[in-house]
């Protein structure tokens, strides 16, 4: 158990996306829960294989869009009807149709900003360093042409020798220990 302090996990390398999907499915059915797959592009079917739940990005985007739109509209209302009312030929101060273009733009702006920054925050980025970057083959290939699967040491079922042997059985081309730092 003491290897947990300096081992982040054990990582296996695969040549194709199909092998990675199969590996993820089998790792899950073997009872591992704290594992992560890495691919150089979004692999269709991988989220399902890992049984990832729906993520919170759409909800955050919705909230951001609503905040931008409502905030934008009522700000214009406040400016035009309360802070700086201009009587132009007796026309209403709350001339709401004229406020729609800016309301729309601010809805999109709020939604887009929250989609991007929400995604980054949920992903824990920016995070310049990660234990996996200690693995030479990972930093050389993970963002270009190879697929990786890492079982993390915090998984209750994790054991360095057994997990490494398990990954070797999944047609991995390389299996190596990931040192924590």
């Amino acid at each position: 158990m003491d290897h947990r302090s300096h081992t982040y996990g054990v990582v296996a390398e695969f040549e194709t996306a199909e092998q990675l999907i199969q590996a993820a499915e089998r790792t899950r059915s073997a009872g591992y829960r704290r594992f992560e797959a890495y691919a150089p592009f979004p692999v269709e079917g991988l989220s399902e294989a890992m049984a990832l739940k729906r993520n919170a990005v759409p909800l955050i985007t919705l909230i951001g869009g609503l905040a931008g739109g409502l905030g934008g509209f009522f700000f214009q209302y406040w400016v035009s009807a309360m802070a700086y009312p201009l009587n132009i030929g007796g026309r209403p101060y709350n001339s709401w149709p004229a406020f729609i273009p800016v309301t729309f733009e601010l809805t999109v702006l709020g939604a887009a900003l929250s989609a991007v920054f929400g995604m980054l925050a949920l992903n824990g980025l920016p995070r310049p360093h990660h234990p996996l970057f200690n693995v030479h083959r990972f930093s050389k290939h993970a963002t270009s042409d190879r697929f990786f699967l890492c079982i993390e040491a915090r998984d209750p079922k994790f054991s360095l020798a057994d997990s490494a042997r398990f990954l070797q059985g999944l047609h991995a081309t390389h299996v190596s220990e990931v040192e924590d730092d």
Binding site: T16, A17, E18, A24, E36, A37, Y38, A39, P40, F41, P42, V43, L46, S47, M50, L52, N55, V57, P58, T61, G65, F75, Q76, V79, S80, A83, Y84, L86, S95, A98, F99, P101, V102, F104, E105, V108, L109, A111, A112, L113, A115, V116, G118, M119, L120, L122, N123, L125, P126, R127, P128, H129, H130, L132, F133, K140, A142, T143, S144, D145
Partner: protein
């Protein structure tokens, strides 16, 4: 190619693929990242960069002189207060729209051919918006006071007039610039990580590493990333339509003859996409040649873009026809007079040149031989760019010189500073593109890998 069509066809033209066969994950990564990371800077790049940099110096001098002397150095006057600045503003912002269209709308429609052109089309959008934004800014005459247009709690207790299309424009263009930047940057993150991992020099590793923010391709990250990207595409699509609609409101909300018409929003949006696709072709054709990207930007891309140009060009032609029809049908004497002025007035040669560039010449695109002839397409794209510039000139200048009262009529002729400023922004735009292809991946590597998986059949 071996599968035969299920019907007895006499002449089925084979469709070019969106990526030439035989590519692997490693080969697309190598080929695209090599442009930045391993290829030496070519002589052509240095020459091109120097030329465009010279034009940027022209821009700097023009803007400095403008700030020193005021907008009087331009040809603008009363009644033509808008002149080149607004013509160029609308032209540039329209060009930007094709980038968003390619990256957002074609993404939502699941069009695979967008993949190899979306990155530099988005870059084109950003640079075009930068050039566009410059014009209204310097056109204010006192650009250091431009922050007055944004709502902020000033000590004077003043607030912007939110009923004015010019304030809508401020919000539309700044939102458009921001969202385009976000969309572009989110798309770049995985490729920046690739560059971080593949660059050999320490400073490059640090810079790309900072920009990549520690991206490592985790499946959970991709999962959220894809949601965010899809949502951004969904948001950018109505945004791009709204931006040119708001730009057209700058004209359509006013009562000036030739501007006050409901056809403007759709016809402006179509015109924007038309000129934008022309500009994408103008850039793509030399780019694929210079960096041997014919495998990725194939004939299929060029032909599809030509078809989009043909379609949007026809919508624009309908817009021109409808403008004419409405002025005749309305019986409004000011509108009728304006239409006469377009055909017979002092600027009629601009109008005829516009019809020639935007409506007549592009009809050649019906012919497949023209659509697949690269030099012809290149020339066509330049003609359409010119035509779209003329369109904005006709709208701005002819209407303003023939207002309601003869006492308010006037003439406009551009000065050397008008031309210098415009040429300067052309230089700025091209210089930024030169820099872009040397420091960032001009084609989305991650999406090309996805395309490799889909087309080459890693699936047995």
């Amino acid at each position: 190619m071996s599968t035969r069509p299920p019907y007895d066809s006499v002449d089925v033209q084979p469709v070019s693929p969106v990526i030439e066969p035989g590519h692997t994950y490693a080969s697309v990564t190598d080929k695209i990242s090599a442009i930045v990371l391993t290829r030496p800077t070519s002589l052509g790049w240095v020459v091109g960069f120097s030329l465009t940099f010279t034009l940027v110096m022209v821009l700097t001098v023009s803007v400095a002189w403008l700030i020193a002397k005021g907008v009087g150095i331009w040809g603008i006057n009363i009644p033509v207060g808008w002149g080149f600045a607004i013509v160029n503003f609308v032209w540039w912002i329209g060009i930007g729209h094709a980038g968003t269209l390619i990256s957002a709308i074609l993404f939502l429609l699941n069009q695979q051919w967008r993949t190899s052109i979306n990155r530099f089309a988005e870059a084109m959008t950003l640079f075009a918006v930068a050039c566009a934004g410059l014009f209204p800014l310097i056109h204010t005459g006192r650009p250091w006071m431009a922050y007055y247009m944004f709502p902020y709690p000033s000590t004077m207790g003043l607030w912007p007039q939110f009923r004015s299309p010019l304030i809508w424009d401020v919000f539309a263009v700044s939102t458009y610039g921001t969202v385009s930047l976000l969309f572009w940057f989110v798309g770049l993150i995985p490729d920046l990580a690739t560059f971080r991992d593949r660059s050999v020099k320490k400073p490059m590793q640090i810079v790309y590493g900072m920009l990549a923010m520690g991206w490592r391709g985790s499946a959970r990250h991709w999962h959220r990333y894809q949601s965010a990207y899809l949502l951004l595409a969904g948001l950018a699509t109505p945004l791009v339509l709204s931006v040119h609609t708001v730009v057209s409101f700058d004209f359509a909300i006013a009562i000036v003859p030739g501007w006050h018409t409901t056809i403007f929003p759709p016809y402006f949006v179509a015109g924007a996409i038309y000129s934008g696709f022309a500009m994408v072709l103008t850039i793509a054709i030399p780019l694929r040649k210079a960096y041997d990207l014919e495998d990725f930007i194939t004939m299929r891309h060029l032909e599809n873009m030509a078809k989009v140009m043909l379609a949007t060009g026809l919508i624009v032609a309908y817009g021109y026809y409808y403008e004419y029809f409405m002025s005749v049908y309305s019986g409004n004497k000011f509108d009728l007079y304006l239409t006469q002025m377009r055909f017979h007035g002092p600027y009629s040669h601009f109008y005829y040149a516009l019809i020639l560039c935007n409506i007549l010449t592009p009809q050649l695109l019906w012919i497949r031989k023209v659509r697949t002839n690269i030099p012809a397409l290149f020339v066509m794209s330049l003609i359409i760019n010119l035509g779209m510039w003329l369109e904005r000139f006709v709208i701005v200048v002819i209407s303003l010189t023939r207002d309601f009262m003869p006492s308010a009529w006037g003439r406009f002729s551009a000065t050397v500073w008008d031309y210098a400023t415009f040429a300067g922004t052309l230089g700025l735009f091209t210089m930024l593109l030169f820099l872009f292809v040397r420091v960032l991946p001009a084609i989305s590597i991650a999406e090309m890998r996805e395309l490799v998986r889909h087309t080459s059949g890693e699936h047995e």
